[in-house]
């Protein structure tokens, strides 16, 4: 247990049912002793990473029918993903269904064992930890699930659901569990007297609050939130998003926020990664990604979001049309995985996979023709860096000018797309 753990019992508002009131978060903050150097809404860019994922891969075998069940292929659900989540910060993962964002979340909580790559949490690689070794880890990494109806056991009371982690980990003696449960229910905005009720007695938004309380029980350092609001009504979504932000601020929890709703992710995360078919195609701070996306897929995604303000103009917005569906991850396209639906695709895209190239202080993009919308270059910007010519065939004359790696963090120098040279701050 680290020194950042919060004190659990003794003099807490939850012990005394009469002290309940409107200022629940004010009350909650009383027992946060750690200093909070920055507010959660701001970027934690300079904070140390709590999670560092390097070249993470998850292949699910596809077996043939029959008795022998040979492995005939792999679903490459996650294929070489690297990123960092700073302490107390949040990274958003967006992408369409089947892009591997949920698998990534499940790998980080170690519900799956990765095929390759490393997951460094708080300085330790947890990618190969045995299931016995994972038990202490479960206290530090918790998950909030999408569906508040199927993720709570219908036969257990709310008190049993929220208190179970305390008993499993032997943190509190049985008679101390109830006050702590009530305190947690109060933190998430539920009536602490309702610990005796069953999940079906609560609405969808309230159930999601129960899920959040359960995730907070062990005071984790990292919360993986997999589509935490997409099953909720619009008016309730905002309540839960605000609750998650308050919780993050109060307890300094880092978030990996997985969602398909680009507006929600923009609101919650100072840094966002866009995934497509198992790979990160663009990762950047919020402003760069939403105001100056450089990858054609990010541009298409953003243009597809219907906008309320369109009502003032009437009709539909101009949008980039993506034809067809996401290809199968069992047999993904060669080279760039997006090329089958990309309007910019050329020969090089089929031959060479574009590296995740850093093009700004906190901006990386994986595209041979990276550029802002309408300003994509004519010739592949990556060719000289990779030592190939413009069609993607190896060019013996060219020497790869920089090391294009798959590092989770950002370098101090980057490739300037305008000047086609390396630049720094």
């Amino acid at each position: 247990m680290s020194d950042q753990q919060l004190p659990m019992v003794g003099g807490m508002p939850g012990d005394d049912p009469t002290s309940r009131g409107g200022e629940r978060l004010g009350a909650a903050s009383q027992f946060v002793e750690t200093e909070r150097p920055h507010s959660a809404a701001q970027a934690h860019f300079d904070a140390e990473p709590i999670l560092e994922v390097r070249d993470l891969r998850m292949y699910f075998p596809v077996r043939s029918a029959g008795i022998i069940r040979r492995t005939v292929g792999n679903v490459q659900a996650v294929d070489g993903v690297s990123f960092q989540v700073p302490k107390g910060g949040s990274l958003g993962l967006v992408g369409e269904s089947g892009c591997g964002k949920s698998t990534t979340g499940r790998l980080i909580t170690r519900l799956y064992e990765p095929t390759g790559g490393s997951i460094e949490f708080d300085g330790r690689d947890i990618s190969k930890t045995s299931s016995r070794g994972l038990k202490p880890l479960r206290r530090e990494i918790q998950m909030i699930f999408q569906d508040p109806y199927t993720s709570l056991n219908p036969r257990h009371t709310v008190g049993a659901i929220v208190g179970a982690p305390l008993l499993i980990h032997g943190i509190l003696p049985k008679d101390k569990v109830l006050p702590r449960v009530q305190e947690l229910l109060e933190i998430v905005g539920l009536n602490p007297e309702h610990y005796n009720r069953y999940p079906h007695e609560f609405s969808g938004g309230q159930r999601q609050r129960i899920g959040i309380a359960r995730a907070l029980t062990l005071q984790p350092k990292l919360l993986v939130a997999d589509e935490p609001v997409s099953a909720l009504d619009v008016s309730i979504q905002a309540q839960v998003i605000n609750l998650l932000q308050e919780v993050q601020r109060e307890f300094d929890i880092a978030f990996l926020f997985i969602a398909h709703d680009l507006a929600v992710v923009r609101h919650f995360c100072p840094e966002v990664a866009v995934m497509y078919l198992g790979k990160i195609v663009e990762i950047a701070d919020r402003d760069s990604l939403y105001d100056r996306p450089n990858h054609p897929y990010t541009q298409a995604l953003l243009s597809a979001v219907p906008d309320v303000r369109q009502a003032a103009v009437g009709g539909r917005r101009e949008r980039i049309r993506l034809e067809g569906d996401v290809p199968s991850p069992i047999n993904p396209p060669s080279g760039c995985r997006f090329r089958t639906r990309c309007s910019l695709a050329q020969e090089i895209c089929a031959r060479v996979e574009p590296p995740l190239l850093q093009i700004g202080k906190r901006h990386k993009v994986a595209c041979h023709f990276a550029g802002e919308l309408g300003h994509h270059p004519e010739r592949p910007v990556t060719a000289s860096l990779l030592g190939v010519d413009d069609t993607g065939t190896p060019d013996p004359g060219a020497s790869p000018s920089i090391e294009v790696g798959n590092d989770p963090g950002y370098a101090d120098t980057w490739f300037d797309l305008q000047r086609k040279t390396m630049a720094g701050a």
Binding site: D233, V234, S235, A238, I241, P306, D307, V308, R317, R321
Partner: protein, 347 residues
């Protein structure tokens, strides 16, 4: 006389605990070639009302009253036999979840062709050809081969296209789309919305689109009807409703969604509380327990008297159900600066 005219529609479900007033006095009009967006939370009565137009409520457990005039014929007065003939031919529906709306054991083509053969006396072969034609029209690649696939072999977007093909195969004049894109990704959603608009133009159909996504409404609908607790609380042209809403519930909906264009650091302002129970709805205005503007109304009007649907301050057929005397002023001065400070500066 409008093409579709709904007057005082009520759908009540008697239960042991009391009468659930799922729809309680709904009225609206819709012309051919126009789209009506119906917005509201789950349990606000959106789907129940549209199911009533299709005649899908069983007489044994639902009491449906009012008038639903489609091209001058009251759908609530005709026989079951007559309704069955019209259902699928004049009025068709696209459901939210195409996987559960299709039969998993039958081929997609057979399910589409069946919808055609029910209303047209044609051979199986001709119906199949028509099914292939429709699959092609909704943008399924290689329709002559995919017609023999099962629903599970289609992706989510393709299934929704197949559902649309099934709904449109009889050239219905009224199409009801119940959350047609909620289960889909944004890029696929954009494709499906494009398709719906193209098809509406070709078939000159009246379309009702049920959704909780105000962005979809803004881009698709000509008129909007906002429902809360089984009632219409605001109704008018999309432009009016989304730029000058006069009902606190609509304000709440607008302020609780994050927008891609808005300030990301701004705090979301959710509507407090939970949607009302239809079994035991709140007294007076159904929205008053969650309303942050109720103190501006003198006395206890909001608690005791249910407001009527009255014309908005700007006219133009805008209707709102609220006791506030000057909602437009409250909106301009208090709500808009919180929702969209940049728009205030522009004005």
């Amino acid at each position: 006389m409008s093409f579709l005219s709904v007057r005082d529609l009520r759908v009540h479900f008697p239960t042991i605990d009391g009468v659930v007033k799922a729809t309680d006095g709904l009225s609206f009009d819709l012309e051919r070639g126009k789209t009506l967006g119906i917005v509201g939370e789950s349990g606000s009565g959106k789907s129940v009302s549209t199911s009533a137009i299709l005649g899908l409520h069983r007489r044994t457990n639902a009491i449906v009253s009012g008038e639903i005039l489609l091209d001058g014929v009251d759908l609530l007065k005709i026989s079951d036999e007559d309704m069955r003939r019209r259902r699928g031919r004049d009025v068709a529906m696209i459901f939210q979840d195409p996987l559960s709306a299709m039969h998993p054991y039958y081929r997609v083509g057979n399910q589409i062709a069946e919808a055609y053969r029910v209303h047209h006396d044609v051979s199986k072969k001709a119906a199949r050809a028509r099914a292939i034609e429709m699959l092609d029209r909704v943008g399924i690649p290689q329709p002559d081969r995919r017609v023999d696939d099962y629903p599970h072999q289609f992706s989510g977007g393709m299934r929704q296209r197949a559902m649309i093909a099934m709904a449109l195969i009889n050239n219905p004049s009224l199409l009801i789309a119940d959350e047609p894109t909620t289960a889909l990704d944004v890029t696929v959603q954009a494709q499906i919305l494009d398709l719906l608009q193209d098809l509406q133009r070709d078939f000159d159909a009246a379309v009702m689109i049920i959704t909780h996504d105000l962005g979809v409404v803004a881009e698709m609908a000509h008129d909007v009807l906002v429902m809360y607790g089984g009632r219409c609380v605001e109704y008018g042209s999309t432009k009016e409703i989304l730029t000058h809403p006069e009902m606190p519930y609509t304000w709440g909906l607008l302020s609780s969604i994050p927008e891609v264009g808005a300030d990301p650091e701004a705090k979301l302002l959710p509507i407090p509380g939970n949607p009302p129970s239809l079994l035991n709805p709140p007294s007076g205005c159904h929205f008053h327990p969650r309303c942050t503007h109720r103190d501006k109304v003198p006395g206890d009007l909001c608690w005791t008297v249910s407001p009527e649907l009255t014309p908005g301050t700007r006219g133009d057929g805008h209707l709102k159900r609220c006791h506030l005397a000057n909602p437009d002023v409250v909106y301009e001065r208090e709500v808009l600066p919180e929702i969209a400070p940049d728009l205030v500066e522009e004005r």
